[in-house]
């Protein structure tokens, strides 16, 4: 196959490209320049869009012995990922920019361009398995598994994706990189959000959205407990930084229960009011398993799975959770997995719109 290896400058994508090359594919390396001004994104070894990363990717391509180019994806990245990130927060939801980048950049803009230029597939260093049966599975390295942020990919996108690392642990990947003489072998993992240089998401949103003062109210009584400078600064399940002047009657800590952009209100309440046992979601990607189906669902990146019954009807996915979950945030993905000895299988994914407590659950609280 003629394949395009997306090379971030990190160890994973370098080893993925090397393995594709070893497997006999005709591999071309491409680094995606995502920053409008490369210096403004993370400096040093933490992100995926710096000048240093571009050089690291180029050096890795040299060592592997494949051609290498830089593609300017800054405009698409800004429109589809950064602007979307800000708009989602403004709408009271909690976006996942890495998932969005996979969906819109790596496996849409880049993949489409690659196919148009005569490539058969895109290779990335994601930790996930995509076997001969074409089903997306978790990586053998559960701690590094990235199937959650790939589950948004459609059948057509998966058919043109190659993930060579799914059968290896991160430690094995690093060891192999060192063996291959790739200088990125001991480069630290990237984390946080690559387009927020200082890691201060709140400060970034504040600069983008400005001050928007509003109320913090009690979810049960409706009483005003305090104020905020922008509802976008809060996440469902957040406990710290509420700065409430009025102590709770029972003295117990309070958590953010919901964010209502229309009234610019942040609603708080006790921990148990965070619990939901029914989740609805839209923008469904489903790979054909008949529903209702008993499976596991994951409600946030690196979160635990919860057993559930998932039903897909038209454009809506509904999950009834066997045990209540807390901190379910609209905008995050729900991913359904079927347990399997050779890696749990992704059944489908959707974007959560609401988490609600059933009458039984509400009754149990009282």
């Amino acid at each position: 196959m003629r394949v395009l290896a997306a090379m971030s400058g990190g160890v994973d994508s370098a080893v993925a490209a090397a393995r594709a090359h070893d497997a006999g594919h005709d591999v071309t390396g491409v680094h995606l320049a995502l920053a409008r001004n490369p210096q403004t994104f993370r400096t040093g070894a933490r992100g995926c869009c710096t000048l240093e990363d571009s050089r690291d990717a180029r050096r890795a391509a040299d060592v592997i012995g494949i051609p290498f180019y830089v593609w300017d994806m800054a405009e698409q990245f800004h429109a589809d990922v950064v602007d979307d990130f800000v708009a989602e927060y403004a709408a009271g939801r909690t976006p996942n920019p890495c998932l969005r980048c996979n969906e819109k950049i790596k496996f849409e803009a880049v993949l489409d361009r690659a196919v148009a230029l005569g490539f058969d597939a895109v290779v990335t260093g994601h930790h996930a398995r995509l076997g001969a049966d074409g089903r997306l599975r978790r990586s053998v390295d559960h701690g590094k598994d990235q199937s959650y942020v790939l589950a948004v990919l459609t059948r057509e996108q998966l058919d043109r994706a190659v993930f060579p690392l799914g059968d290896s642990t991160k430690a094995q990947v690093r060891e192999e990189a060192a063996r291959r003489g790739l200088a990125v072998a001991d480069k630290p993992d990237s984390h946080d959000i690559c387009f927020i240089a200082d890691g201060d998401t709140q400060g970034f949103l504040q600069r983008q959205l400005g001050d928007a003062p509003g109320d913090i109210v009690d979810g049960r009584t409706g009483e005003r407990l305090g104020g905020h400078n922008g509802a976008y600064g809060y996440t469902i399940g957040q406990r710290k930084g509420l700065d409430l002047r009025v102590p709770a009657a029972d003295g117990r800590p309070r958590y953010v229960l919901s964010i209502t952009p229309v009234t610019n209100t942040v609603t708080v309440g006790p921990k148990e009011d965070l619990e939901v046992d029914t989740v609805t979601a839209s923008r469904v990607i489903w790979h054909g398993t008949p529903t209702p189906v008993e499976c596991d669902v994951q409600l946030r990146a690196h979160g635990e799975v919860v057993p559930a019954v998932v039903t897909v009807e038209g454009e809506t996915l509904t999950a009834r959770l066997a045990t209540p979950a807390r901190g379910v945030a609209a905008g995050q993905a729900i991913v359904a997995y079927q347990r399997s000895a050779d890696g749990d299988i992704v059944l489908g994914s959707a974007t959560m719109t609401a988490g609600v407590a059933s009458e039984a659950l509400v009754a149990a609280r009282a």
């Binding site: 071309t28 320049a33 490369p38 230029l117 005569g118």
Partner: protein
């Protein structure tokens, strides 16, 4: 490197000796340096003392633009204007910008026409308007991207008439078109080794004997006290051989390469009828063919042609490696899309008709494919 230049390099590199030393080994090195200086001077129409060895084109351009500016301003604080063209190499442009940002220089950018050519009348106007302010004028001999040859002698005459030092970056021109320092009327001229088959890392600034230039590098006072630093004897020897060879073979080479380039241009136009030849159609470097391919992105074309063994270049890349729309094409009036759709094919003394055949075998398919790949950009 040319074989002759490499041989001269190796022979000189075997010898030990610092040309600044007074002992026998030093004298041998010194002699080789001075003979090389004389050979270069003879080849480019300069006097030996006018050859200031440097580390190459970038240093020579920096030395000329900054050094002439500082020297002129030291004579009169009013003289703080740098005049240069909108299509210069970054070594000149960024030096001028730096003087603007850090030394309070005023900048005048001479525009170019759609062929990339500076109109001498625009320089005349600037010199008239700012007669007492201009410190230095710098306009390239030929453009490194689109190949347009500038009316250097005319520009130099205008500057000299106003009593202002004129510098020209002749890196692209030497060995490609006739270059004569004295006849050009320039006060300073940049040349470099690796563009004429010599080593990378050695070049020269030709600097008129009466022209005052403040040094960038201070130290041992070598090179008329304008450029301190121990000379690279072997590099200088190889540079001299390369310059001599390039100049002596210039006429024949320009004829052969120019004919080959004309063949390439005609065949590209036949194969891709809407391809636009950029640069001056007649007055251009013989080895340069620069096109815009409407509807394509240059970096996609480059990838496709590279995969078929054809080497070509897009404009210039930023430090991250992203192809930027060329400032040269923008200055010529091209929009961003046309600038991004451009590709340069350079022919040299090793190029053959077979290379042109190879390019034409790959090009139509690559253009068609690149056009389809542009669709990914259109919003869904």
């Amino acid at each position: 490197m040319l074989d002759e230049a490499l041989a001269a390099y190796v022979a000189a590199a075997r010898e030990v000796g610092n040309p600044s030393s007074l002992h026998a080994a030093g004298r041998r090195a010194r002699r080789l340096v001075e003979e090389s200086r004389e050979r270069i001077a003879a080849a480019v129409g300069a006097r030996p003392s006018e050859v200031i060895f440097t580390s190459g084109g970038t240093e020579s351009d920096n030395l000329a633009v900054k050094g002439l500016f500082w020297a002129r301003r030291a004579g009169s604080l009013n003289r703080s204007r740098v005049v240069t063209s909108a299509v210069e190499h970054h070594a000149v442009m960024d030096s001028a910008d730096w003087l603007g940002a850090h030394e309070g220089a005023q900048l005048s950018w001479l525009p170019v026409d759609s062929a990339g050519r500076v109109d001498p009348a625009s320089l005349a106007t600037v010199l008239e308007t700012y007669a007492e302010e201009v410190a230095v004028v710098s306009v390239q001999w030929a453009n490194n991207e689109v190949g347009t040859v500038q009316p250097v002698a005319e520009l130099a005459r205008l500057a000299a008439g106003a009593g202002i030092p004129f510098h020209t970056d002749a890196v692209q021109a030497l060995g490609q078109v006739p270059v004569d320092f004295a006849a050009s009327g320039a006060a300073a001229m940049t040349i470099t080794g690796h563009k004429v088959g010599g080593p990378v890392g050695v070049g020269a600034l030709l600097l008129g004997r009466e022209v005052s230039c403040t040094p960038l590098l201070h130290g041992g006072g070598q090179e008329r006290d304008v450029r301190s630093g121990t000379l690279d004897t072997a590099g200088v020897a190889a540079f001299a051989v390369a310059v001599e060879t390039a100049v002596s073979s210039q006429a024949a080479s320009a004829q052969r390469v120019g004919d080959l380039r004309d063949e390439l241009v005609a065949r590209v136009r036949a194969a891709v009828p809407d391809a636009i030849l950029n640069g001056d159609p007649a007055d251009r470097l013989p080895g340069n063919a620069h096109f815009s391919f409407p509807g394509c992105e240059g970096d996609a074309l480059l990838l496709l042609l590279d995969a078929q063994g054809v080497c070509c270049s897009t404009g210039s890349a930023c430090s991250a490696g992203v192809a930027q729309p060329s400032h040269v094409l923008i200055a010529m009036g091209a929009d961003d899309d046309r600038a991004r759709s451009s590709l340069r094919f350079t022919l040299g003394h090793t190029s053959t008709l077979g290379d042109v055949d190879e390019l034409l075998a790959a090009l139509p398919g690559a253009v068609e494919r690149a056009r389809r790949a542009t669709a990914w950009k259109t919003p869904r």
